[in-house]
């Protein structure tokens, strides 16, 4: 194929994939009151307004909490699991793997509903706690997979050598293994954070008075008002996620692990 046709095909594809964002960024920078494109004059007032909306601030805090602590918890139970699946001769290893990977295949909306009906209501668990459980379970498969792939690249005889030289098994893990899979753990954290922060279907039914994740809050705001603030907020969030991933790629070659 000629160079020209290659660039035409790529240009059209990338315009389709990325063009809409540029439009959202501009639509959020409108000076007008209603959402429109091209924007009616440019201003940053909607970008500023986003930070003053009380519900956005509350839901942003909740989403941050879930993304950080959900992912940390997933790593706390996921790293040992990945280590055991990699280094031990485990009975039922396949079953454990399937169970841990299940949240990727089961559609999120079902999980949210199931937790609401059979955990939140009968056991009197708070919505926030239920959200925390769902987000942890959703991030867990990614944590196990990413950490596993970096364990695969680390030779098992290093820990054995450490044990022979007098380390306990636990010391061998903290002194030999952990420093070597640091990059993988950080990559898993970033992937988990972005996944959890952007999650919608599983959180859909898990919202109560004043308790909503940010994407859900944006969805309901959109239904009531038609001003450009959601466009501005979308643009800010898009920029944040891209910046996080870009930095991660620059600093540790993120894509090696994912």
């Amino acid at each position: 194929m000629s160079r020209l046709s290659i660039w035409i095909i790529l240009g059209v594809t990338l315009t389709f994939l990325i063009g809409p964002f540029l439009i959202v960024i501009l639509a959020g920078a409108s000076a007008g009151e209603a959402l429109s494109f091209p924007p009616q004059g440019l201003s940053l007032k909607w970008y500023a307004k986003v930070f003053t909306v009380e519900s956005f601030r509350a839901s942003f805090a909740l989403s941050m909490f879930l993304a950080i602590f959900g992912t940390l918890t997933a790593l706390l139970i996921g790293i040992p699991a990945a280590y055991a699946l990699n280094r031990y001769d485990l009975p039922w290893a396949e079953t454990i793997r399937t169970i841990v990977a299940a949240p990727i295949i089961v559609p999120g909306i079902i999980v949210g509903l199931a937790l609401l009906r059979y955990i939140v209501v009968p056991l009197n668990v708070t919505i926030t706690m239920a959200l925390f459980m769902v987000h942890t379970a959703l991030v867990l498969p990614y944590a196990v997979r990413v950490v596993s792939s970096s364990l695969n690249n680390l030779r098992g005889d290093m820990e054995e050598a450490a044990v022979i030289l007098g380390c306990t098994r636990f010391q061998a893990f903290t002194k030999v293994v952990l420093p070597n899979i640091r990059g993988g753990i950080l990559a898993a954290f970033i992937l988990g954070f972005v996944t959890s922060f952007n999650e919608v279907p599983a959180s859909l039914f898990l919202s109560g008075p004043g308790v909503r994740t940010l994407p859900i809050d944006m969805l309901s705001y959109m239904e009531i008002t038609f001003d450009p603030s959601v466009a501005a907020l979308s643009a800010i969030l898009a920029f944040l996620s891209v910046a996080i991933v870009f930095l991660a790629e620059r600093l540790l070659g993120f894509s090696r692990y994912v």
Partner: protein
């Protein structure tokens, strides 16, 4: 490899129990709801669900849109992946980065863009009215086309990524060799590229198809209650009509469809090779 099984289990079981207790058990209970009736176990929930024309229509529409999106992304994906692979390494990396970029962005933001584009006062309608093709804005949102476009934009990157990594493994000279020996581009595609990238196509196809089946945001924003899909129907059944039997039936359909897609497509990939 350590042989202490107890120690290994102690490390692995917390994760498995967490997912089992807080994820799989509640889902299992929800799925069992549709099989229960006053007189014991029965399939009445399913018969009742499929006896309603609206539910059947939504079921077929979801399947149809899933297949259409997977098919369209395969066609565009092959063209795009072929172009990316034939670029010099440096620009290949950059373009590939641009393809991956949207995956990092919230689906809400990604879908919201289409409201700006397809809405009553959106760009497309501005152009249509401006050119005098229509006196009043046309309804573009809340149509199947809008949902199709939204889903395609959401999941196309997954297909391109799978196909690019499959095509990178094609030996360099194979395609020129086939051309020199007289194969047309169609023959090159059908007899060289397709067989060598089948696995990537299958992986990409599964990801796109199951993604489209289980997407909530896109049909909710771009389809609304005019173009219901199974996920949005489930939401309505619960929040509008409090009908948990139907919700349980839909949940089962969604799970069965995404599991079957995973298994069937994996089998195709392994048999043909």
């Amino acid at each position: 490899m350590f042989l202490n099984r107890k120690e290994g289990l102690a490390l692995a079981l917390p994760a498995a129990f967490f997912t089992l207790l807080f994820f799989l058990v509640p889902v299992g209970i929800l799925l069992s709801v549709a099989f229960q009736s006053d007189t014991g176990w029965s399939l009445n929930g399913y018969f009742e669900f499929f006896s309603k024309p609206l539910n059947r229509a939504v079921f077929w529409r979801t399947l149809k849109l899933g297949l259409l999106v997977a098919g369209a992304s395969a066609i565009i994906g092959y063209a795009a992946a072929f172009c990316i692979v034939s670029l010099p390494p440096k620009s290949r990396g950059r373009i590939f980065g641009l393809v991956v970029l949207p995956l990092m962005i919230s689906p809400v933001a990604r879908t919201y863009a289409w409201i700006v584009i397809l809405g009553r006062t959106g760009i497309v309608n501005d152009v249509i009215v401006g050119l005098g093709l229509s006196d009043t804005p046309i309804r573009l949102l809340f149509t199947e086309t809008a949902v199709f476009i939204g889903l395609l934009q959401l999941f196309l990157p997954l297909m391109i990524i799978s196909l690019v990594s499959a095509m990178e493994n094609i030996p360099r000279d194979v395609i020129p060799a086939a051309r020199v020996l007289g194969a047309s581009w169609l023959q090159v595609f059908l007899r060289v590229i397709l067989p060598l990238t089948k696995e990537g196509l299958v992986i990409g196809g599964t990801l796109v198809f199951t993604g489209a089946l289980t997407a909530y945001i896109t049909p909710a924003i771009l389809g609304g209650s005019k173009v219901l899909m199974l996920e949005t129907l489930l939401y309505q059944k619960v929040n509008v009509s409090n009908d948990f039997v139907s919700a349980s039936v839909i949940a089962m359909i969604l799970i069965v469809m995404s599991f079957t897609a995973n298994i069937v497509l994996k089998r195709i990939a392994s048999v043909r090779r």
